[in-house]
């Protein structure tokens, strides 16, 4: 199961935080910071897995992460997940974001936080992998968009 999905930039500013296991708010903040410090000190080109920080359960959990330009995508998972599978899932998530936003960048995550959550929701649900087929995910998002349009947005 995926315990948490954290996206933050190279300075540790959180851009997407999603916990699937209940932690009090202040612990959530600490986990984000701890995780940032754990991955920050690692060079690129070394392995993408490491043991979880103490707050999120230590050696029973793994942090699986990818670093894209200015953003780190970190999934914290337990031993029931395949490491490489999760690594690919991060790629699917990012490729999907890229398709939905056309050349996604950090700013898109900031200004369309809600949309990013909706896309993530199509990929992961309650900590479990829901869908891995990119076309299917994009189709869902497009359907949502059509609904949104049909409901007639008022600009404000």
């Amino acid at each position: 199961m995926i315990q948490a999905i954290l996206v933050f930039n190279n300075h540790g500013k959180p851009r997407l935080v999603r916990f699937y296991q209940r932690f009090p708010e202040e612990i959530q903040q600490q986990i984000v910071r701890e995780t940032f410090h754990l991955v920050l000190k690692r060079d690129d080109n070394i392995c993408n897995f490491l043991e979880g920080g103490s707050l999120i359960g230590g050696s029973d959990y793994k942090l699986i992460y990818r670093h894209y330009a200015t953003l780190y995508f970190v999934f914290c998972v337990d031993s029931s997940e395949s490491e490489l599978g999760i690594l690919d899932l991060i790629q699917v998530f990012v490729e999907t974001l890229d398709k939905c936003f056309e050349n996604v960048c950090e700013l898109d995550l900031i200004f369309h936080m809600d949309k990013v959550h909706y896309i993530l929701q199509e990929v992961v649900m309650g900590g479990m992998v829901l869908e891995t087929n990119m076309n299917e995910i994009v189709a869902q998002i497009e359907a949502q968009n059509r609904l949104e349009k049909s409901e007639g947005q008022v600009l404000g």
């Binding site: 959180p14 997407l16 999603r18 699937y20 296991q21 209940r22 708010e25 202040e26 903040q29 984000v32 060079d43 070394i46 392995c47 993408n48 897995f49 999120i56 359960g57 050696s59 029973d60 959990y61 029931s80 395949s82 490491e83 490489l84 599978g85 690919d88 899932l89 790629q91 699917v92 398709k99 936003f101 056309e102 898109d108 900031i110 200004f111 936080m113 809600d114 949309k115 959550h117 909706y118 929701q121 649900m125 309650g126 900590g127 479990m128 992998v129 829901l130 869908e131 891995t132 087929n133 299917e136 994009v138 869902q140 998002i141 609904l147 949104e148 409901e151 947005q153 600009l155 404000g156």
Partner: protein, 940 residues
């Protein structure tokens, strides 16, 4: 066209975000946020009803503020209102807010549940999915109770859309994980298994995840899934890379589904049906073969996906552990990966090989890679990978290669990352002990360990080396000689001084014949380190000195001089001072015979599981190990009211020494005889000047703690202040009990008018009968009086009786009240029962009034053995192998009262990650469930 249109978002939101981004300082940002929070608050509170769009905008702003790390304590109600909107986008943001900012307010939960109920019943698949997502993301017990029964129905309904089925499967999985008892198996399970044949791959993936989780506890309900999983897997593995269209990921057909299917198969033994098994073996071979084919793409995604399947295949082969041919092929494949240029693959290969090393078929094959692994330890840039290499070396170690592996680990230790040093130290210590043929090698290894990484050598490690040296007389002389030599180094680690001090104190005589290590030289060598050491080490060295007095009468005057010096006799540290005084006295007054008896060589330690092994297991996998050392220490804290002294003082010369009293050595400042509550004395000072004679004193501060401590035990000190100590001893049988109360006068002056009174409140009186005789009103200084209380439990009760004591001490009136620990659980009789009986009774008590549950944070370290002891002390039987989850504890017993007997079942589920417990009590009486739950919850 992008799926997300960037232009038409919410402008107010974008402006706010830009403002935040333009803030030059943290202060400015906080100011801007507070302004916005105030604005939103006033909008929410204002008279004007907000339209859905505004609500959506503000809720979105709150989410953003939350992401920045600020607490959000309002807005939940507005979000809940959005749930009932007919507009999809408003509903959607409402659900998002609730899933991200979970709130446990029960009124809110009721409203949320209502909205979810409506959406589930709406037959609009989009709304249904939103509702299912919300349940899965929150996953709380309340939601489970409300919906667990509906989800299976939605999941297997013929007319559910694929996306709904997919969401329903995962939703059910989540609820099952959170509260398995809420998801009873039923006829739907068979239909879930058939989802493995579903057309839609997304549905199959979700179903496999669900079955993998459910079948762990209900293997028989799902065993038909094996053949279906095998045929599905076989179809995927043998398909051409384009057959599965959208589910082909970088030329690999359905990698996630394959991985999940292989995981599912690892829940079961190899298929018995020869045809199924043949088909599966064929699949596994195909995967292994494909690994040798040239890649279809150079992209890393392609190789990742392919290898994800390969690693899972290897895991399955290792799990079956029955096909030597496949095991060796798996091992060879991993061997290739050990030298792969991709770090991830090297990491995973090391990890998988660890499990492979424990199989008898492949252990030898794994061993052939030793050089590569050692090389990895030396050259890998990544600490995660080096850590795996250490693990693998540890796993592949046996008698044949132990010297090599231990030597490599020791040399790696010199440069190892700080984060993994302690673990390596433990591993080296364990391997050295386990594979020692020659104990001199063992001693050398441990001393090296202390030399190289003394700071990381935990107590357990040096305790253990002493245990082993004491238990093996063939190595004692060598050990003495070696530590003596090691201590010659000008700077040695304190742990070495401890080991050296202890070993020379016991076996220094074995090398004293050599003039280079004469008694005096040994003593001077140790004493030269004395002043650089911490207090516990110095205390240990003082014990060594007194042992020297016994071993070598010729150094007695020298040692007496040292003990007599002001820096010892008047040391500011009580422990050191006490040892110096006692040892000096012992060396002066005791005859040689007595000295020899008191300071006799340590008897061998009983053989038991190595404490370091326990420690390592604890580091690696919490919850699975019983740590003997820790339990022991916990208890001794209870008894001595202080940290356990170094092992030296467990010898006959220990400090609060009964033996010293026997020798009539006079009044040494002895440690308090009874257990003063470890919370410290100051909290217990009752107001001694209080003069309100007739009023019953309020409960003594701290007595609550003491009271709680008696819930699981019957004897000990209930209360203590500067004047008075109250001890208890009690026994209970069925609905009767007897309690001995001991009142000790700690002063040298009489207590007059000493009147203890037992007070039962009006509620308690009819349920609990207490009978006692008055005690003598005068308690002499230093004396102890005893009072017997006969107890009868008439009916179940909640409160505890209060013991009030009034007396005069030196002209002042004293008044003390404490709760007397007579609690309902004392009338427990344990009941043993088999798993089946237990669950049958559990089900019979499923009425909501009969169950009380409490979820709480652990207040003490979560130690399995301690927990077991507490449950037994609580009075119920501890039922082993009843709960399918071995980490859980279940108990059963009967509460005996005069009027009735009440059967009680309990279940305690620890969650180590969250450091929480869930305790469930089921009895036939609500008040009893409630009270027992309260009492037991306070124990963890």
């Amino acid at each position: 066209m992008p799926a997300v249109s960037k232009g038409d978002g919410m402008r107010g939101l974008a402006v706010f975000i830009s403002d935040i981004r333009n803030c030059k300082s943290k202060e400015a940002e906080i100011k801007r946020i507070n302004k916005e929070l105030a604005n939103i608050r006033s909008k929410f509170k204002g008279d004007k009803a907000l339209d859905g769009y505004s609500k959506k905008k503000y809720v979105c702003k709150l989410l953003f503020i939350f992401l920045l790390g600020h607490d959000i304590d309002f807005g939940h109600m507005e979000a809940v209102n959005l749930l009932s909107s007919n507009k999809y986008t408003e509903k959607q943001i409402g659900y998002l807010f609730i899933s991200v900012l979970v709130n446990s307010n029960s009124e809110l939960i009721r409203l949320i549940n209502n909205a979810i109920k409506n959406d589930l019943a709406s037959r609009n698949p989009t709304f249904m999915c939103l509702a299912l997502h919300c349940i899965a993301n929150v996953g709380s017990r309340e939601m489970g109770e409300a919906f667990a029964a509906d989800i299976p129905r939605i999941l297997v309904a013929g007319d559910s859309m694929d996306s709904v089925k997919q969401s329903a499967a995962l939703c059910l999985l989540r609820l099952y994980k959170a509260s398995p008892d809420l998801v009873p198996m039923g006829e739907w399970t068979a239909r879930v298994v058939h989802l493995l044949n579903d057309q839609h791959m997304g549905v199959v993936t979700a179903a496999v995840s669900l079955i993998t989780c459910l079948c762990k506890k209900n293997p028989d309900d799902f065993k038909t899934c094996v053949s279906l999983a095998v045929s599905r897997l076989s179809r995927i593995v043998s398909s051409a890379s384009t057959d599965l269209q959208d589910y082909t990921y970088y030329f690999v057909p359905a990698p996630w589904l394959s991985v999940k299917l292989l995981r599912l198969l690892q829940c079961y033994p190899p298929p018995e049906d020869a045809a199924v098994k043949g088909r599966l073996v064929e699949c596994l071979e195909t995967v292994l073969n494909k690994a040798q084919e040239p890649p279809k793409s150079k992209k890393v995604q392609h190789s990742n996906a392919k290898n994800a399947i390969l690693f899972e295949t290897i895991s399955l082969i290792i799990h079956y552990d029955s096909e030597p041919n496949l095991l060796v092929r798996a091992c060879n494949q991993l061997g290739q990966f050990l030298q792969h240029r991709e770090t991830n693959l090297r990491y995973l290969a090391l990890e998988s090989m660890c499990t492979l090393a424990s199989s008898e078929f492949s252990h030898e094959a794994v061993k052939t890679h030793i050089e590569t692994v050692i090389n990895a330890l030396k050259t890998e840039r990544d600490v995660s990978v080096r850590q795996r290499a250490v693990d693998l070396l540890y796993a592949m170690c046996d008698r044949s290669n132990a010297p090599q592996i231990v030597a490599e680990m020791l040399s790696y230790l010199e440069t190892a990352d700080y984060s993994i040093r302690e673990e390596i130290v433990l591993k080296v210590a364990i391997l050295a002990e386990k594979y020692a043929v020659d104990y001199t090698w063992y001693v050398d290894t441990i001393l090296n360990l202390i030399r190289i990484a003394g700071d990381y050598v935990s107590e357990e490690v040096w305790y253990r080396v002493i245990q082993i040296v004491i238990n093996r007389d063939d190595v004692q002389g060598y050990a003495a000689k070696t530590v003596f030599e090691a201590l010659q180094a000008p700077a040695c680690h304190e742990n070495l001084v401890k080991v050296g001090g202890y070993i020379l104190g016991e076996f220094g005589n074995l090398i004293a014949g050599d003039p280079r290590s004469s008694p005096l030289i040994q003593f001077h060598l140790l004493h030269s380190k004395f002043h650089l050491c911490s207090v516990p080490t110095r205390a240990l060295l003082l014990s060594t000195y007194i042992k020297f007095v016994n071993l070598f009468p010729e150094v007695k005057p020298t040692i007496q001089d040292v003990l007599r010096s002001d820096s010892q006799l008047r040391n500011a540290d009580v422990e050191l001072q006490q040892r110096a005084v006692e040892y000096l006295r012992l060396s002066t007054v005791a005859s040689t015979d007595i000295l020899a008896t008191v300071l006799e060589e340590m008897p061998p330690f009983p053989e038991r599981e190595s404490s370091i092994l326990a420690k390592l297991k604890k580091k690696k996998g919490p919850g699975t190990v019983t740590d003997l050392e820790d339990t022991k220490r916990d208890r001794s804290v209870d008894v001595n009211g202080g940290p356990e002294p170094a092992p030296a003082s467990t010898s006959a010369v220990s400090t609060p020494s009964p033996s010293a009293d026997l020798l009539g050595l006079g009044a040494a400042p002895t440690a308090p005889a009874g257990p003063p509550p470890s919370s410290g004395g100051s909290g217990l000072l009752v107001d001694v000047f209080s003069d309100s004679a007739s009023v019953v004193a309020p409960l003594a501060p701290g007595s609550e703690d003491n009271f709680a401590r008696f819930v699981c035990k019957n004897n000990g000190v209930l209360f203590e202040n500067q004047l008075l100590q109250i001890g208890l001893k009690s026994e209970f049988r069925q609905n009767l009990g007897r309690m001995f109360i001991f009142y000790g006068n700690k002063t040298s002056t009489q207590f007059l008018n000493f009147t203890p009174t037992l007070i039962c409140s009006d509620d308690l009186q009819p349920n609990l009968n207490l009978q006692t005789k008055p005690v003598d009103p005068t308690v002499e200084g230093g004396a102890q009086v005893q009072q017997v209380v006969n107890i009868e439990c008439v009916s179940d009760f909640t409160e505890a009786p209060v013991l009030n004591i009034q007396f005069r001490y030196g002209g002042t009136f004293q008044n003390v009240s404490v709760q007397l620990p007579i609690t309902l659980n004392k009338f427990f009789q344990p009941t043993e029962m088999a798993s089946q009986d237990f669950f049958q009774r559990w089900k019979q008590l499923s009425n909501p009034q009969q169950e009380v549950q409490n979820i709480f944070k652990a207040k003490h370290p979560m130690d399995t053995e301690v927990t077991k002891a507490k449950i037994i002390g609580f009075g119920s039987a501890l039922l082993e192998e009843v709960d399918p989850n071995p980490a859980n504890f279940v108990g059963a017993g009967i509460i005996h009262t005069k009027t009735t007997q009440i059967g009680c079942l309990l279940r305690l589920e620890p969650n180590l990650q969250a450091q929480m417990y869930r305790l469930t009590l089921r009895t036939s009486k609500e008040a009893v469930s409630q009270r027992l739950c309260e009492l037991l919850s306070a124990q963890f």
